[in-house]
């Protein structure tokens, strides 16, 4: 057997997820199956996200921000109730701006999609991984078609919980789109096989995305110098994998609107098939 069969899986996991999508490295993204029969015209059709519900698990969404323009249909937050983490109705607010940034990107790509805000950054710092897990579980059970996760948990104690939630989402026809984490430590669920894991590429274009045949981070999307909505109705220029993920979420919402019966696996495949050529012809 080759070395790769005996080396621990973690040795292949490098933290610089965006590196694979950098101009100098894109020749390595050439893939075995080019999917030439699937093009963007077919993939998106007239899909504008209509009929698709997207949950954004983040710092909240400011529903009054012009960038999200009436797309918010529900806002909830997690809170500690004794030892339990519960999900309760919330005001449509975002004290940080990050969740509104993600929602604005998704709304810009799929303007007819319905957005749900799941605010998991509360004032109480205790049990933040549990709050995140509770919010994700709620979104899956609520029937979201797609969940955007620009954050992750690195709690080893919650590994099994998130693994179960990722599988549960997959089987419930719910696509999880996760931002990869740049810090060299395990983060869940972004490293699980059932999710779409995204890092930023270095092309300033929302219509450019790349497919990486080497998991765990299979997609590169626009995440460098993105003009995003921010708190208090403002805007800011932001860089990071957490701004790349909502671009893939927006594209996935369009695919699910155009092809309502497509499963998470098929949506992922269509995203791969319609990705930009890694190296310009």
């Amino acid at each position: 057997m080759s070395d790769s069969s005996t080396a621990p899986a973690t040795t292949a996991v490098l933290p610089a997820w965006a590196e694979a999508f950098a101009a100098a490295n894109r020749a390595d993204l050439a893939r075995v199956a080019p999917f030439t029969a699937v093009d963007r015209a077919w993939a998106f059709g007239a899909g504008d996200g209509a009929g698709v519900t997207v949950a954004v698990i983040d710092s909240g969404i400011d529903a009054a921000h012009p960038a999200v323009d009436g797309s918010i249909v529900e806002s909830v937050r997690t809170e500690l109730d004794g030892e339990e983490t519960i999900v309760v109705a919330d005001d449509p607010i975002d004290p940080v701006g990050h969740g509104t940034a993600c929602a604005g990107i998704i709304h810009g790509l799929a303007p007819a999609a319905s957005l749900i805000s799941v605010r998991v950054l509360g004032p109480d710092n205790r049990g933040k991984g549990l709050a995140f897990a509770a919010g994700l579980r709620w979104a899956i059970e609520r029937g979201a078609s797609i969940v955007n996760l620009s954050l992750s948990s690195r709690s080893e104690a919650l590994y099994a919980t998130f693994h179960d939630l990722a599988d549960r989402a997959y089987f419930a026809n719910c696509l999880l789109v996760c931002a990869a984490n740049n810090v060299a430590i395990a983060s869940y669920p972004s490293l699980f096989a059932a999710v779409v894991s995204v890092a930023a590429h270095d092309v300033r274009d929302p219509a450019t995305w790349f497919y990486n045949p080497r998991p765990p981070v299979e997609f590169g999307a626009y995440g460098l110098d993105v003009d995003v909505a921010w708190r208090d109705g403002g805007r800011i220029v932001a860089t990071g994998n957490s701004f790349a993920a909502p671009h893939i979420t927006g594209l996935a919402a369009r695919i699910r609107a155009a092809h309502p019966t497509a499963t998470p696996f098929e949506v992922k495949t269509i995203l791969a098939a319609t990705a930009n050529a890694p190296v310009e012809a």
Partner: protein, 281 residues
């Protein structure tokens, strides 16, 4: 059996009602005393390491300023401990909620982000300037994280020259922050007996209420008497760190004489002399 197990008379008195709870309390008290002694014997190690990290960071990224905020569990706040660069000094000592603002977002999600044109957003600029007297044009914020979790946030402010931070900067900062975290952890003695005991007892599966009561009892009055000869001795030994080797030798020899005297006095001059003496001079 009774007092032969090496306990002090004080422990024996507290043993009057006997039982595992009393034994646990005594063990915790003994542990708390050792932690307090270790705390006094160890110089404030963190500061030098933190300073070195922010200065290296600023140099590495060609940045105007860099800062480190660490999470303080006692107050549930993120506290900016050190900064490099003239511009950055205003932030030192500022504390924010663990989910507030960009640093709070990065701390609580573990997700690295970079922002530019920060000053262009008047609202963002104003709230930052009010706290620190300095509004950066661009910034990178990455979690200080390792396998044991996130301990704070490293911020890099205002790259010199044209252009802001790019993806490579962000990923480098993430990788660097992990190394920094390892250094901070290894250089940081647990300064706080309460939080260490709480962690130990919590890991053993007690509920929060029980843990608090046990910790309170163990540290009660620990630091009440600043003139306690044991603490005074620990403080003096700590100060000796700055002495030159010749002085240290002298102190060690003087201490050896005093310890032998105390040893003889404490044991009433009986028994051990025959074996103990040859080891002396």
């Amino acid at each position: 059996m009774s007092e032969a197990s090496g306990r002090s008379p004080g422990d024996a008195r507290r043993d009057a009602p006997a039982g595992s709870e009393v034994e646990l309390a005594a063990a915790l008290r003994s542990l708390a005393v050792r932690i307090e002694a270790a705390r006094r014997l160890t110089p404030p190690a963190g500061a030098a390491i933190l300073r070195s990290i922010v200065e290296t960071t600023a140099t590495l990224f060609g940045a105007e300023a860099a800062s480190i905020a660490l999470y303080d569990p006692a107050t549930d706040r993120l506290v900016f401990e050190v900064a490099a660069g003239e511009q950055g000094q205003g932030v030192v000592g500022v504390s924010i909620g663990p989910t507030d603002g960009v640093a709070g977002y990065v701390y609580s999600t573990g997700q690295a982000i970079a922002l530019s044109d920060v000053a262009a957003d008047a609202r963002f600029g104003r709230s930052t300037a009010e706290r620190t007297g300095y509004v950066p044009r661009s910034l990178i914020a990455v979690p200080l994280a390792d396998d044991d979790g996130v301990i704070g946030v490293l911020e890099v402010l205002d790259k010199r020259g044209d252009g802001g931070f790019d993806l490579r900067d962000l990923e480098l900062a993430g990788a660097f922050a992990r190394q920094a975290t390892v250094a901070i952890r290894s250089g940081r003695i647990e300064r706080d007996a309460a939080s260490l005991l709480r962690a130990v007892i919590g890991a053993a599966g007690s509920s929060n209420g029980e843990t608090d009561a046990l910790v309170e009892a163990a540290i009660d009055g620990l630091d009440a008497d600043p003139d306690d000869p044991v603490w005074a001795l620990a403080d003096q030994i700590a100060r000796l760190r700055a002495a030159d080797p010749a002085q240290l030798d002298l102190v060690r020899e003087l201490l050896a004489v005093l310890v032998r005297r105390a040893d003889r006095g404490g044991r009433g001059g009986r028994g051990r002399g025959a074996r103990g003496q040859p080891a002396g001079r």
